[in-house]
């Protein structure tokens, strides 16, 4: 009886608890970061970071439980990909926060993680087995690379939003409440570039492995794909490409880069919703 309980009731209970803790933590942390942004209370920023870590811990448990249950990594269903995406966004955020100490980035990135997790609650939690195929490693690669690339883009998005807010303030000469909290435009610009320089190659590789997988599995050509599902991805990919390659060749700097990283992220989100 006991072993059946731990195998049945307890994991379900754990899943619900951890999922809720993660969601609530991210929501709470988003609010705390926002309060910090507006009211500049140093304690609140630390509190927010702590809250994010609590969320991340629960989130890690969610992924662990799910993988234990399905017997494979979080790669098959939309639900799994969504929780994995959100998890990596937070991991990469924590790294950026620790490494570059950008104040306020959490205000723009953690809500993204929260929204993805919220989106995941509406998806089917059904367990789907990993497709039996000799090319399954391709699918694993495709999803892992794309998801890491996506997380880097999420950071670039947050930085891009910060850039655009600050740029607008300096340009219009109306220096608002966030003025004293943000890093300089040039540092934001450099960080966006770094994030895209990490994200773009990974995302491209993810894209390629996905394409090869698709061809191998469906035995068809690339052009048979539903083009509607692909156009946002292509737009996003081109934008990131411009940010990545255009910096030295075409003078893509500053505002254009920030806009590119914001619009690019939106198109990638749309394409993921359509695709996964």
């Amino acid at each position: 009886m006991v072993s059946r309980l731990t195998g049945g009731f307890a994991p379900v209970f754990m899943k619900i608890i951890t999922f809720n803790i993660a969601m609530i933590s991210y929501l709470l942390a988003s609010l705390e970061y926002f309060i910090y942004l507006v009211y500049r209370k140093p304690g609140v920023s630390k509190l927010a970071t702590g809250t994010v870590l609590v969320g991340l811990l629960s989130h890690t448990v969610i992924i662990g439980l799910r993988s234990q249950e399905t017997g494979h990594g979080p790669y098959t269903t939309s639900f799994e990909v969504a929780i994995f995406l959100s998890w990596l966004v937070v991991v990469v955020y924590c790294f950026t926060h620790w490494r570059y100490k950008v104040k306020d980035l959490g205000s723009f990135v953690i809500p993204v993680a929260f929204l993805i997790l919220l989106y995941a609650t509406f998806l089917s939690k059904e367990i789907v087995d990993f497709p039996e195929s000799e090319f399954r490693v391709l699918l694993t690669l495709h999803r892992t690379l794309s998801v890491i690339g996506f997380a880097a883009f999420a950071i670039a998005f947050g930085l891009g939003v910060m850039y655009l807010i600050q740029e607008k303030q300096v340009k219009s000469k109306k220096l608002g409440i966030m003025y004293f909290r943000m890093p300089s435009l040039e540092s934001l610009d450099n960080l966006i570039y770094k994030a895209v320089a990490v994200g773009f190659p990974l995302f491209t590789l993810g894209f390629l492995t996905g394409a090869i997988w698709n061809i191998k599995m469906s035995q068809t050509s690339l052009f048979s794909w539903e083009l509607v599902k692909l156009w946002p991805l292509v737009i996003g990919w081109v934008l990131y490409g411009l940010v990545f390659f255009g910096r030295y060749r075409m003078g893509w700097r500053g505002k254009k880069v920030a806009q590119g990283s914001v619009i690019g992220f939106v198109t990638v989100i749309i394409s993921i919703i359509l695709h996964v």
Partner: protein, 424 residues
């Protein structure tokens, strides 16, 4: 509040015109020679003089608050040989708790002409260390000033009171630091050699700018200024073609028309591969075409824009000052608690009461068990037990009174209250 007997008498930039203030100033030397005299007055236990260009204040712990204040006022008048009736209306004086609040406000720079300026804290610290070395302060003033420095630090950290720039040249630096990652690797070009431009350039250099170019219609002036700024002079004819080298341009020529047009900057920014440019136009009439600001990655501020930033920052400081006042209120309360705890008498009285209660309780029990005792026996029993209690408590009472004169006093009082459960 327990009586701290703290007072402050002074004049500042709000109450007293500068012609009078300057006559009241104390130099370091005059403090050294007079403070002993001040301490020799029977009314005054501890004293400390702060004298800056905006204020002259004497903080003191006195025997009698009103007499003490009169003494301090007279002292200032006498020392500077100014008739009392001339000066009296300019004086302000605070008593007890208000003294604490006033010092906290002064050292946190809430009472300054430019709220949030950082100089005053250093001046108060200097005055304190001088007084300490002259041994004119004691337990209470020492604690008061140490506390004031903590409060000032806290306010600086927790509010934005000193965060923003409140002069034109510091506003320019502040903006440059919002645009560029670090100023060390960036280049400033001065077009024209106006005084304000020089000031702004010096400010930028103090924040790390290493490369400076100076262009002026008179080449000699360019060379002279370049020399003082450790930069290099440019031929005025050529500065436009060199503009792309500059991250920050400060223009201050006397030219009647725009000398830096949108076209010129467009070319420069293109040559810079769109790396941002910050253009500061402090010339009147203006040197730089306003449409330059429409170019991407180019930020143009003229003198009015900078003044606008300064005004906004000043307003922001006023708002932050309100937050700071909340902190001060709370800290004044904490200081009061400290003063209260310093007072040993209530604790001693309570301790004796507690001992007496125990004695009475035990005596009654004993007498009930021994009904045969005569009145005289009972009386002797009372005498003996009282004497034991007095003997046991005598030394602690003396020591406690002594210790409360030192900084450890509070710890002793706390320990006693805790050991004998006096707070229950």
């Amino acid at each position: 509040m327990a009586e701290s007997n703290l007072v402050i008498v002074g004049v500042n930039h709000k109450t007293t015109p500068v012609e009078l203030r300057e006559k009241l100033a104390f130099t370091r030397g005059s403090i050294e020679e007079t403070t002993e005299k001040l301490g020799s007055y029977p009314e005054i236990d501890e004293n400390l003089i702060i004298s800056t260009c905006n204020r002259v204040e004497i903080y003191a712990r006195v025997n009698d608050v009103e007499k003490g204040i009169d003494r301090l006022k007279k002292f200032i008048c006498d020392y500077h040989m100014i008739p009392f009736n001339l000066l009296d209306k300019h004086f302000y004086a605070f008593r007890e708790e208000e003294t604490v609040k006033h010092l906290f406000r002064v050292s946190a720079s809430l009472d300054s002409m430019v709220v949030g300026e950082s100089q005053i804290l250093g001046q108060v610290k200097d005055a304190y260390s001088l007084a300490k070395s002259l041994q004119t302060t004691g337990l209470i003033l020492n604690q008061l000033f140490e506390k004031a420095f903590n409060v000032a630090k806290k306010i600086r950290e927790e509010t934005g009171i000193a965060e923003s720039a409140v002069s034109i040249s510091s506003a320019a630096v502040e903006l440059a630091r919002k645009i560029f990652e670090d100023l060390e690797s960036h280049t400033v070009m001065l077009v024209g050699t106006g005084e304000m431009a020089e000031l702004a350039a010096k400010h930028l250099i103090s924040y790390g700018v290493k490369t400076v170019y100076v262009a002026s219609r008179t080449y000699e002036r360019a060379t002279a200024l370049a020399k003082t700024l450790n930069g290099s002079a440019l031929d005025f004819e050529h500065f436009k073609s060199e503009l792309h080298r500059a991250d920050i341009v400060i223009s201050s020529t006397a030219a009647p028309n725009f000398i830096i047009t949108k076209e010129i900057v467009e070319k420069a920014i293109h040559e810079r591969n769109n790396r941002p440019m910050f253009l500061i136009d402090i010339a009147v009439p203006r040197d730089i075409e306003p449409e330059v600001n429409d170019l991407e990655n180019v930020y143009l501020y003229d003198i009015d824009d900078l003044q606008g930033v300064v005004n906004a920052n000043l307003q922001e400081r006023e708002k932050e000052a309100e937050l700071a006042m909340d902190i001060i209120q709370a800290e004044v309360g904490k200081f009061n608690n400290w003063i209260e705890a310093l007072d040993a008498v209530p604790t001693i009285v309570e301790l004796r009461k507690r001992a007496e209660a125990v004695r009475m309780q035990e005596i009654e029990k004993t007498i009930k068990k021994m009904p045969h005792l005569s009145e005289e026996d009972k009386h002797n029993l009372h005498l003996m037990t009282s004497s034991i209690i007095n003997k046991i408590l005598h030394k602690p009472t003396i020591n406690l009174k002594k210790k409360t004169q030192t900084t450890e006093g509070r710890t002793y009082l706390k320990a006693i209250r805790h050991l004998f459960h006096l707070d229950d």
